[in-house]
Amino acid sequence: MELYHFTEFPWPHLPPDDSFSSMRLSLPSRHYDPKIGAHLYNMYLDQYLLADELGLHCMINEHHQTATCLNAAGPIPLAILARQTRNARLCILGNPAANLADPIRCAEEMAMIDNISYGRLDCGFVRGVPYELFASNANPTETQERLWETIDLCIRAWTSHDGPFNYEGKWIHKRQVNVWPRPYQQPHPPVWTTGGSDLSHACKTIERGHNFAMFLTPADGLAKMFKGARRYCRENGLPEPADDQFAFMPLVAVGETEAEAEKVIEGVFWYVTHNKSEPQFRAPPGYNSRKLYADFLSGRYSGGRTDAIRRKGVSYFRENHVAIYGTPDSVVEQIRSLYDKVGGFGHLIAMLHSGDMDYKTTAKSMTLLAKEVLPQIADLGTKSTGFGPLAERGAMAAE
């Protein structure tokens, strides 16, 4: 089991709740104070440096025009960490493939980061949350097709070493593609995608040998997807995917005592409680399945996974492994239990920080996770052979 640290780089200093309708897209940037923000950026990066020292990996994401996430370009913190960390895998989840104006620039950026980090990049591509369609002006009806077209083109660009090729596809047209540098990892960095309830997307990801990640999904939903993808492989005569093709991100807090962990998880919960947005931002036409969109239009569905789970409260989160918190032994037990319920997974991306949690509180939770939990679950799960064990790839940096 590989453990990752994650913070979404939040801006926690919001105006009074009744004075704005959405944290995303429409909240004016006058509510952002660069003097405080500059400090936050550096504090968040410090968390990742600590993660590296502790033997945790790093996961970075990006969102646009929102106070929930100050990472407007994932490759920027990733590039800093490529230079400033030594051992951690650097996972981006991910490049917003469906919204990227220039996929080839993305292939170049990722190849550079892979080189600077001596091959520690895990390169995720995501369809992007619905809000991003407004920030990017990408067409919501095309996102799934664009995601895969971008992934295919990036892989081709990383693995072509005999001079330029031309590409005139459905959504992307590029002439004389000839990416420098080539990636450090050969043939290319591991590719990840993320998903919700679309099983065919998970199957396609796994079938191609990529890694599939899910965020904040109750255990039964997770099991449906992970087991569904495994069943798909069995039924189609494909190799049995190793556990490290599957990843999950819950909210995580580790304390010396149960009471301490409960206090810390409240801080992480900011992510769930402070996620205000206008309903139409969550459902541009064509982004969700037609059935879901029809239910949204006719008021049968309010929109948003987070919305649905938020109403159910803390105990629901813990019972369903959406939040994993407690003493180290309790956290180990919860992870093992989740592992069994979903039929195995190999990456646990721990959202250990949110809201206005300070460095010290976050660092203690991270340290307990790395020192007390990780040793007990390090051997849990099977590993792929395609790209070589994670540990070996990470070790290149130490040489």
């Binding site: 067409n139 009806t141 139409q280 036409p285 064509g286 969109y293 239910d295 239009l297 008021g299």
Partner: protein, 263 residues
């Protein structure tokens, strides 16, 4: 009045067409919400004309082929359609999105048209880069969208979405998906259309709801200014769909224009 439904196989799409009445041909192109097919308006037009009401790809019974991606594609499909029926001297009437399609068709050729009626038509960009010619219906709340499109929001045929049955809701969802696919970016316009409007040679009536805050009457006037043989008429007490909010005044203007008057 009895409606005949038929499906026309064209090279680029299969189009469902409703035909009502008899007389000279009138092709009615619907708004993105496809309100028009259910309006009494159709029957009233059919008293003097044979009304052809096609459903664009991705609306009604017309499937959406994968390579139909722009309103320009739809305009060419409809040109194929009127050629297939071998219609001449057509009164072409388009509402909102249908007005955009009609304008695209007319800039390509007016050979088969007698008259063109554009009702609160979308499709052109007249303002500057920072001007929003067409209000962002995807970003605004549902209530605000209703408020900018209707003088009286209670007149929205889809006023109460919660009353929709599951099949109806699926159909509305499908129509909105198709519209987003064709119109998300550039947002409800073709940047080239403005500089093609001078090619419209058919006499044209540009009809506009005075209280349209989705695309304002000034936009309609700019449309009319660029079409050589055109006149602009505004309808009081109506928003983006004057034919829904003020059907009598709207039809009176349309008939007057079709009968050779100035609208």
């Amino acid at each position: 009045m009895e409606r005949q439904r038929e499906t026309v196989e064209l090279p680029a799409a299969r189009i469902e067409v409703e035909r009502i009445g008899s007389g000279p041909p009138l092709v009615l192109l619907q708004s993105a919400e496809a309100y028009e097919a259910r309006l009494d308006l159709v029957d009233r037009l059919a008293r003097t004309h044979e009304v052809f009401l096609p459903w664009a790809p991705g609306y009604g019974g017309s499937p959406l082929p994968g390579d139909v991606r722009t309103i320009d594609d739809v305009a060419y499909i409809y040109l194929d359609l009127i050629e297939r029926y071998d219609l001449h001297e057509i009164a072409l009437v388009g509402c909102s999105l249908g007005g955009w399609i009609a304008a695209e068709m007319a800039t390509k050729t007016c050979e088969r048209l007698s008259r063109l009626v554009l009702v609160d038509a979308l499709g052109a960009k007249f303002g500057g880069a920072y001007d929003r010619d067409i209000e962002d219906i995807y970003f605004l709340s549902f209530d605000k969208v209703k408020a900018i499109r209707f003088a009286d929001p209670r007149r929205d045929p889809l006023d109460d979405m919660t009353a929709l049955g599951e099949d109806e809701a699926m159909q509305v969802a499908r129509h909105r998906e198709t519209t987003a696919r064709l119109c998300w970016d550039p947002y409800f316009h073709n940047p080239a259309l403005k500089n093609r409007l001078h090619r419209i040679s058919a006499p044209t009536l540009v009809l506009w709801g005075e209280e349209d805050r989705f695309v304002r009457p000034e936009y309609g006037r700019a449309y009319a200014e660029r079409i050589p043989d055109s006149r602009f008429v505004s309808i009081a007490g109506a928003g983006h769909y004057p034919h829904i909010e003020q059907p009598d005044a709207t039809l009176s203007a349309v008939f007057s224009f079709l009968n050779g008057g100035k609208g």
